[in-house]
């Protein structure tokens, strides 16, 4: 996830390397292609705007993932809020779009609380170590371990009946 520090060329390499991974993160998280691409674009746009700072980080990719997860959480909260407001007003809520993932695993993951969802997604989707996940989420490794443990219990319960 590191990027060479040589200006625009470095950013382009960073973008091309990270973009599909962030789209994957968004797709796993939301199941919605448009949302996944839009938020990945937003995260990398922010990286571009802050590139002079981001490129100096040891792990610019971790920064981008942190931003992406923040955006995903915010998007989920807003969708819920708008849905509730719309419901109160008797109006149609913001359409989240079709869930294209079609995968029982990710559907079950999306039912997890944000922290557990983030830990599970980063750990499996990106094959990241506990330490790397902790770095991205800015929590203690013990917290990640607990999140994964609790998440697996819930997933086991949710998916066990589907098998």
């Amino acid at each position: 996830m590191t990027a060479e520090r040589t200006g625009t060329g470095a950013f382009e390499r960073f973008f091309l390397d990270e973009h599909p991974k962030l789209v994957a993160l968004g797709l796993a998280w939301t199941g919605n292609r448009d949302v996944a691409r839009d938020l990945a674009q937003e995260a990398l746009t922010r990286a571009f705007r802050s590139w002079s700072t981001v490129e100096l980080l040891d792990l610019p990719g971790a920064w981008a993932r942190r931003v992406m997860i923040n955006l995903l959480i915010d998007q989920r909260r807003r969708a819920e809020r708008d849905g509730k407001v719309a419901e109160q007003l008797g109006a149609p809520g913001t359409a989240a779009g079709p869930d294209v993932s079609g995968d029982a695993w990710w559907r079950a993951v999306r039912a997890l609380p944000d922290r557990e969802r983030a830990a599970i997604t980063l750990h499996y989707l990106e094959d990241l170590s506990i330490a790397s996940v902790a770095e991205i989420l800015e929590v203690q490794p013990g917290t990640v371990k607990a999140s994964l443990s609790h998440a697996r219990e819930k997933l086991r319960a949710a998916l066990g009946g589907e098998r």
Partner: protein
């Protein structure tokens, strides 16, 4: 389903998602879009996902925000803090212009004194109307004979919020019955550099709140909130704030707005006072979090209201989420608070912050939230730990979900989180 089966399922799903994403991403086009937009100095056209909530920003507010930010720097770190122990153990005077850098700054210098005997009254101190006299034979006064200095380190750039956290050296014991006095007086304006721009403004404190807590008889801990008025060529731009009474906290007095200098007189005994300085720099949002230990006091907790509020915030977009953890006296995790910044309005003067409080209910620590009467404040209280989240403008849009959107994490985080009793994790304030 055992672990191996679960892992197999997870990895298969992950592999498929990665493949789907590679096919979907069209990264070359996305990059071109971003670079073209940057070259045209227009934002990358993103399909709006959600309606925008928030007031309309304008250039004038951006300018005001910068002035406010500078004023915040001046107002906070140019304040002189004089602490006097009425029994004469020591005096601290904090003054002098700060120097800033990103992340860490060397703030005011503390002048410490040897215990004078007896202390003498300072003629610049104004009395607080209605304040009762402290129960001390030494009388309400402060010594002013510095014999040395101790550097005080502040963290972060001093934008508004107007809370200051200054690590005060151990001044020796505060005995039962003593009434320490925290005196704040403004220093002369100084020029500061913030975000690459130099500016000079006059900051006049308009209100000070001192929140204090019972301590261990050794340290002085208080939570100081100062709001300043910016005076500039345009005629000034005032930040307003009303004192928030926090039931359960020891009584405090504040001087009338506009009084210069002013005194916060603490009228209960055995108190510790520690001024807190926190600032927010553009990169790291919360710079300083402080834990206010209650010393065992417990406070009545109101019922859960709502965890949604839309606030102006001085946080930067991007790295815009911070997890706050609050520890109780034993260093166990009580609260986990997840705060994020919403729309990217950096530079426009206001920020929309979504505050979602993931409240962890640990044994013996019920998780509740109170919404203060002033819409800009949410006060969390448990065992005397206070976390204040506020916005500057009481008239700003405050969007609160009518229904609770709280996610309550019922896990016992104390089991999974390493207690850090030396961490300071409370006292979050952010204002524009």
């Amino acid at each position: 389903m055992n672990d191996a089966e679960l892992d197999t399922l997870a990895r298969r799903a992950s592999e498929q998602t990665r493949a789907d994403a590679r096919a979907l991403a069209d990264s070359e086009s996305a990059l071109r879009r971003l670079l073209d937009a940057a070259a045209a100095e227009t934002p990358t056209p993103l399909a709006p996902l959600i309606p925008y909530h928030g007031p309309i920003r304008d250039v004038e507010r951006r300018r005001r925000w910068k002035l406010v930010a500078v004023a915040g720097v001046i107002g906070l770190l140019a304040l002189g803090i004089v602490y006097a122990n009425v029994n004469g153990s020591s005096t601290i005077e904090v003054a002098g212009p700060p120097s800033f850098g990103t992340g860490t700054a060397t703030g005011p210098t503390i002048a410490t004194t040897a215990p004078p005997s007896p202390v003498s009254a300072s003629p610049t101190h104004s009395s607080v109307p209605g304040a009762s006299q402290p129960p001390s034979t030494a009388g309400p006064s402060a010594s002013t004979a510095p014999v040395g200095t101790s550097p005080v380190t502040t963290t972060g750039v001093g934008t508004t919020p107007m809370t200051m956290a200054v690590t005060v050296p151990d001044l020796g014991p505060v005995n039962a019955g003593e009434v320490p006095r925290l005196l704040l007086r403004p220093a002369t304006p100084a020029s500061v550099t913030y975000a690459g721009e130099e500016s000079i403004a006059t900051a006049e404190p308009t209100l000070t709140q001192v929140w204090v807590r019972p301590g261990d008889g050794r340290r002085i801990d208080a939570f100081v909130v100062v709001h300043t008025r910016v005076s500039d060529a345009s005629g000034g731009f005032a930040l307003g704030a009303e004192p928030v009474e926090v039931p359960g906290w020891d009584a405090m007095r504040t001087s009338p707005p506009g009084a210069t200098p002013f005194t916060a007189e603490l009228v209960t005994g055995n108190l510790v006072v520690d001024a807190l300085v926190s600032g927010l720099d553009e990169a790291a949002s919360l710079a300083t979090l402080r834990d206010i230990r209650s010393g065992g006091a417990r406070y009545a907790l109101p019922s859960l209201d709502t965890n949604w509020v839309e606030l102006p915030s001085a946080w930067s977009a991007g790295v815009a989420r911070r997890e706050l953890i609050v520890l109780d006296e034993e260093g166990d995790l009580v609260w986990s608070i997840d705060v994020s910044v919403g729309d990217d309005l950096l530079g426009s003067g206001f920020f929309v912050a979504d505050v979602e409080l993931e409240l962890t209910e640990a044994a013996g620590h019920p998780a509740v939230l109170q919404r203060a009467p002033i819409p800009r404040l949410i006060v969390l209280r448990d065992d005397g730990v206070v976390i204040r989240v506020g916005s500057r403008d009481p008239g700003a849009d405050v969007v609160a979900a009518a229904d609770s959107l709280i996610e309550v994490d019922e896990e016992i985080w104390a089991e999974s989180t390493t207690p850090r009793p030396n961490d300071w994790v409370g006292c979050l304030s952010f204002f524009c």
